[in-house]
């Protein structure tokens, strides 16, 4: 069983928690977000504020103004809604050094249903001036992202996941801020993905190989700022783009990539894999992924369409 992103995150907080500037806030879900690991190791810098996400996020601003580095934790959907006003006023507008970590991104809290899914958080957080948005796809990347968040000044949204996902990097890998990573080479089309959709895209690539489609896969874990150069290079070299995200097709990763493409005037086919302007429902994660078009099969289908449009 792969390690979940939330487990990797909890471990990373505890691992780097020796940094006295770090404070961790949670809204009565530390057993879910796994920030409890930090709480156990550094109880004096751990603040469980109860079910009060707005208060928690605003409190983080005060800590940040005091030179602390607050990590704010709860489910993605509540952080990007109830926590939004404080994120906007203090993180975005005032530039305070706040780190928001949304634990249950996408449909990963599958059985709890749409009230607990997060299909618009990337659109919301990406629209906040000054915010960086990172969507890791792998425990190694989560560890890197926590280290990065600690040393980079400024507001940041980190979107995590409740569940294990197909491994992408394995034991070790290095990353660059604002740079995507080509995780598989190919010449016929490029899937640009983030989060668990990177692993799904790699699976799709294997399937498409049988059909003679050589798929390139890019992990665009920085949804903001996006790696414009890499997006344009992939468009030029492979002639077709598919974006794949565990999110609504409106305003998230697909939106970011299409902004880059259209601003550059590059008219390659672009297919969007993601939730098509809909909420999902409750159920097993894999079944939801299949039904709502965010699995390897959906990515493969989108690639076939994109490649057909090329011809």
């Amino acid at each position: 069983m792969e390690k979940t992103l939330r487990a990797a995150y909890g471990e990373a907080l505890a691992k780097y928690g020796g940094d006295e500037r770090m404070v961790v806030l949670d809204a009565d879900v530390s057993g879910s977000t796994l920030t409890g690991m930090f709480g156990k190791a550094y109880p004096q810098r751990f603040f469980n504020v109860g079910i009060a996400e707005a208060n928690m996020t605003a409190m983080a601003a005060g800590f940040a103004a005091q030179g602390k580095i607050p990590f704010v934790n709860c489910f993605s959907v509540f952080l990007s809604s109830v926590g939004l006003l404080a994120a906007r006023t203090y993180g975005s507008y005032s530039g305070l050094n706040m780190k928001l970590a949304g634990a249950y991104g996408g449909l990963s809290d599958s059985f709890d249903g749409p009230t607990h899914h997060s299909v618009e958080d990337l659109a919301v957080m990406r629209a906040l001036p000054g915010f960086e948005v990172i969507v890791p796809c792998d425990p190694v990347q989560v560890d890197w992202a926590v280290r990065y968040a600690l040393q980079k000044k400024g507001p940041l949204y980190l979107r995590l996941s409740r569940d294990a996902m197909h491994p992408v990097y394995g034991k070790a890998a290095d990353f660059e801020p604002g740079k995507g990573k080509i995780v598989r080479e190919g010449a016929d089309a490029t899937v640009i993905a983030c989060g668990m959709m990177v692993g799904e895209a790699l699976l799709a690539a294997q399937e498409l190989e049988q059909e003679g489609i050589r798929l390139r896969v890019v992990d665009l874990f920085f949804v903001k700022p996006v790696d414009n150069a890499l997006i344009l290079r992939c468009a030029e070299e492979t002639g077709a783009i598919v974006t794949a995200e565990e999110h609504s097709v409106i305003g998230g990763l697909g939106g970011a990539v299409s902004e880059t493409l259209s601003a550059a005037g590059i008219g390659v086919p672009h297919e969007f894999a993601g939730l098509s302007d809909t909420h999902a429902e409750c159920g097993p994660y894999a079944a939801l992924m299949r039904k709502y078009g965010i699995d390897a099969a959906a990515v493969a289908g989108a690639v076939r369409r994109a490649v057909r449009r090329k011809r």
Binding site: V49, A54, N55, M59, A61, G62, A86, S94
Partner: protein
């Protein structure tokens, strides 16, 4: 105890600040007179008598959660030398450092951005707990409007302040009983405010919010309390200008020529 001569000085300062406020808002033709006039003594006592307003790390933090009273805050910050007084007339103009609501990145002396109501006490609590971690002896003062208490976040902050025992956090409520749309009783009644705050775990002190000496004593009492505390400062919206007093229409209305002349006659006549 506040010496009578000092009280006289601060009363005179408040009269001057009120007249300057009317001049400034008349010139700007925008901004909030009512809540700026009611909070005058509260901010004056903090900035000129009770708080450490030095520039060092051990300075007390004064947060104006009711950010719409920015004009009074700016007048006081200029008086304290945080920026030149000539800059005041750039209030609400393009390219100004004096935004319509306070912004910590634009204006020297502003400790925290405010404007959206209900969040200042939470942010102040985070600041207070951060100071405690650093064993910094500073106090965090958060000045709230009473209409702002409609926001649920304020009460979330109270719960947390009690839980984390933020003895270095003092909230001061500018209790002027009038909000934008009308009187408190009409818009959102808030009876038993003392009991409410007490039930949420804060020490509560009440005083006349236009009486400099009473405000000083209330702050001393709040300082002496071991946990987080709140001062309910009874005020009058539009205080000092008779025809603005208690009137919600002067929450954010531009001052016309006739009102301007009449107001100055009252304040300086």
């Amino acid at each position: 105890m506040l010496l009578p001569e000092r009280k006289k000085e601060l009363d005179a300062l408040c009269r001057k600040l009120r007249a300057e406020l009317i001049r400034l808002l008349y010139k700007t033709q925008s901004g909030h007179p009512g809540g700026s006039l009611s909070v005058c003594e509260i901010l004056t006592v903090l900035y000129f008598e009770k708080a450490n307003t030095g520039r060092g790390e051990e300075r007390d933090r004064i947060l104006l959660s009711k950010g719409h009273a920015a004009p009074m805050l700016y007048l006081i910050l200029a008086e304290k030398g945080f920026f030149p007084k000539e800059e005041l007339e750039t209030l609400r103009h393009i390219d100004t450092r004096l935004q319509g609501h306070p912004c910590m990145n634009h204006t020297p002396g502003v400790e925290l951005t405010s404007g959206p109501l209900g969040m200042g006490l939470s942010a102040g609590l985070g600041m207070a707990l951060g100071l405690k971690l650093d064993q910094n002896p500073a106090t965090v003062y958060v000045v709230l409007g009473d209409g702002e208490l409609n926001e649920g976040t304020v009460w979330e902050a109270c719960m947390s302040a009690a839980k984390f025992n933020a003895g270095n956090l003092i909230a001061i409520v500018d209790r002027n009983h009038v909000q934008l749309d009308g009187a408190e009783e009409e818009i959102m009644p808030m009876p038993h405010l003392e009991a409410r705050f007490r039930a949420f775990g804060l020490d509560v002190f009440s005083c006349d919010g236009h009486d400099i000496a009473a405000l000083c004593s209330a702050i001393d009492a709040a300082q002496a309390a071991p946990g987080p505390s709140v001062i309910l400062a009874e005020t009058v919206k539009g205080k000092g200008v008779s025809f603005m007093e208690g009137k919600n229409i002067w929450h954010g209305r531009p001052i016309d020529r006739e009102s301007f002349t009449a107001a100055l006659r009252e304040l300086e006549g």
